[in-house]
Amino acid sequence: MEEDVSYEDLREQFVSAWEKFYEEMEEYMEELENQNAEIYEEMYKQWREYTDNISSQQKAIDGLESYASMTEMFNNWVKISQNFRDMVEENIEGDLPPNFKNIYSDYMDNVRDVLTDAINQTLEKQRKEQENLYDLWIDAWSQMAGEEEEVPQIFKIVQENWMDSYSNLFNIWQEGLQEEKTEDLFKKSQNEMIKSASEAMQELISSEPYAQLQGSYIDNILDTKITQQELMNTYLESMSLPSREDMLKIYESIHELTSRVREVERRLDDLPIEE
């Protein structure tokens, strides 16, 4: 079992980890020459600004305001998704194996349905000043998921539940501050976040849209594996080597033989023992 670390050790580790991260990020940024370089650079600056705001522990309102920079980051993430989608779409027009192409086409069709509206709206809309955190999240959601009526009901409910938790969190803090009972704010905040996350996730995973999404995700993985197996079968057969199909036939024969042996053994067990 590893030894416990002291507060000083932890702080030291934390600070050096961040310093290392910044260094690595700077090195990384220099190396980036592809089309996303500018976006990453912008994101890096915003992330730096955001973490600086948090770490300097200014007034709570400054902390809340720093969330506004997250919107900009979010826009950039969406743009990366769009680039990725375009890249895959370009490639699947080429000479990929038909099965692979089909799987990816299906997958990208699904992705496109969800993202197209969100991407267009996100890029068209200019970032505006946010009044408070709640509004910012709602705005981010509507940009991501399209017009309100297009949002599947369950995702909307989950999002609203999650938003409520921020409202509850704000109330917890407000109450603690007004009554000058600030000792257990951390514990209360943590419990509220866990409870809300749990309820929101539970609502989501109990819904049909989620079951459908999970099912198609599993199907995609399984189809890919089955296609790989088929390709491998063709290769092994061409090399006159035993393939998975050959092994399955052998396993099936073994099972049939085993079943017969079991039956014979049971009959022998039932025979009366002669003295």
């Binding site: 079992m1 590893e2 416990d4 670390v5 507060y7 932890l10 522990q57 200014q58 007034k59 709570a60 309102i61 400054d62 305001e65 803090w173 407000q174 603690g176 501050l177 007004q178 000058e180 600030t182 000792e183 257990d184 704010l185 951390f186 514990k187 905040s189 943590q190 866990i194 996350a197 749990s198 996730m201 539970q202 995973i205 109990s206 049909e208 079951a211 459908q212 999970q214 099912g215 198609s216 599993i218 199907d219 399984l222 189809d223 594996k225 089955i226 197996q229 092994m247 399955l248 396993y251 099936e252 073994i254 099972h255 085993t258 079943s259 079991r262 049971r266 067990d269």
Partner: protein
């Protein structure tokens, strides 16, 4: 810098709140760090400590017999049929919270089917093999070992579903049937597994086509997602909060060991189980066929006990309860506890209370009635039962003098009954 909104109080309170928050955060971070290190190191823990011996073993099954003191003759035999997933030591997780130990303490003779990990060779093992070969052979071995026509069976989770099928196909060999957290009526199942396994969303034959057997990791992932926040972040925070509590930490890692000790399910069995039960609910519709024979639940006429956890998200109680309406037995009972799926086996709330009751329920039905002893009529039997002597074996081990005081029946008469029991046994 902006002004602080009025509703947030004055600057000093806000500063204090920030300081308190940061102090708690750092303290908590240290606890989480310790918890995370513990999780990474996975301390060794003992499980399945009740001594047992293997009395039969074949392919992917072995039959365990738990050691007990005293004359086996006084102990009704019970066969525990475990699920095909994870390891059976959840029923014997630690002394004091062991189903096996409690059943032994309450005077039962305990056997368990321990399913071994299948490999690629076993993907063609079917439900027919499990029910009509492995379970049937184990039942026959116990019957022969104990010279009994029928024995008691207790099936857990998927093992409960298999036990119900077995009891319908071989009812003459089953004295009592206890089903613990067993999925039986899947139309009544309100859980997420049932939703995710719906034929519109899930195709079990693709899993077996891709992998042969259903991988343990696939099932683990599904169970983890039944309560995603509590099974990940919640679990770590819980450990962090109790990291100083040795007993808690030990129990936590016993559970962790069990959760990560999964096993694959043979492809043919997995596919048929999901399709015929989760997707088509054939068992309670009396449409299920195994090995060419219809599994007719109307053959289940022995006493049946259903054990369920009120908060079970894996097998919600509703999917067990309605089973009683589908069977022919007129001696049925439901025991429901305020725990989840695993809690039925390991919660301190249910040991020994629930399992003591289960043992008594089985013993009462396993034994010959008290009135089968010459000289004991209904009236005397009633007095004996009021003094907690409910069976012939209870009477045989009772103290005649003490019992006489409790019942008002003469010590001489009681001794005579005890002698008759002894004589019958010889």
């Amino acid at each position: 810098m902006k002004d602080i909104p009025k509703e947030l109080g004055d600057v000093s309170t806000l500063t204090k709140a920030q300081n308190d928050f940061m102090n708690d955060l750092v303290e908590h971070a240290l606890d989480i760090d310790r918890a995370a290190k513990l999780l990474r190191s996975m301390p060794q823990v003992e499980v399945g400590q009740t001594p047992s011996e293997v009395i039969w073993e074949k392919d992917i099954a072995r039959l365990l017999h738990y050691k007990c003191e005293g004359d086996l003759e006084d102990r009704p035999p019970i066969l525990l049929v475990y699920a095909l997933i994870n390891e059976p030591y959840i029923l014997d997780l630690q002394p004091g919270r062991s189903v096996v130990e409690t059943l032994l303490d309450y005077g039962l003779d305990v056997y368990m089917i321990d399913w071994k990990k299948p490999d690629k060779r076993h993907q063609f093992e079917t439900l027919d093999d499990y029910v009509n070969y492995f379970i049937d052979v184990c039942v026959d071995k116990v019957r022969k070992y104990r010279d009994k026509e029928s024995i008691n069976i207790l099936g857990y989770c998927m093992g409960g579903t298999l036990s119900a099928m077995y009891a319908a196909l071989h009812s003459e060999k089953v004295r009592t049937l206890s089903l613990m957290a067993a999925g039986l009526d899947f139309e009544k199942d309100t859980g997420n597994l049932k939703l995710w396994a719906d034929h519109d969303f899930f195709h079990p034959e693709k899993v077996t086509e891709a992998f042969g057997n259903c991988p343990a990791e696939f099932l683990d992932g599904a169970y983890l997602f039944l309560s995603p926040v509590n099974n990940t972040v919640g679990k770590l925070l819980n450990l962090a909060e109790n990291v100083e509590n040795e007993e808690f930490v030990e129990m936590f890692f016993r559970m962790e060991k069990w959760i990560h000790d999964g096993k694959d399910v043979p492809g043919k069995t997995f596919s048929k189980f999901v399709k015929d039960l989760y997707q088509e609910n054939k068992l309670v519709k009396n449409e299920l066929k195994i090995g060419g024979k219809r599994v007719d639940l109307k053959n289940i006429d022995m006493p049946v006990l259903l054990l369920m956890g009120e908060y079970d998200t894996l097998v919600p109680p509703e999917s067990s309860e309605s089973f009683i309406e589908a069977i022919a037995s007129d001696d049925t009972e439901i025991m429901k506890e305020s725990v989840g799926h695993i809690g039925l086996s390991v919660s301190s709330k249910v040991h020994p209370g629930l399992w003591g009751k289960v043992a008594e329920w089985i013993k009462e039905r396993d034994e010959k009635p008290l009135t089968s002893i010459n000289g004991i009529g209904e009236k005397s039997a009633k007095k004996l039962k009021e003094a907690s002597v409910k069976s012939v074996s209870d009477l045989s081990i009772s103290d005649a003098e003490e019992l006489s005081e409790k019942t008002g029946i003469s010590q001489k008469r009681i001794q005579k009954w005890k002698d008759r029991i002894e004589k019958q046994r010889r």
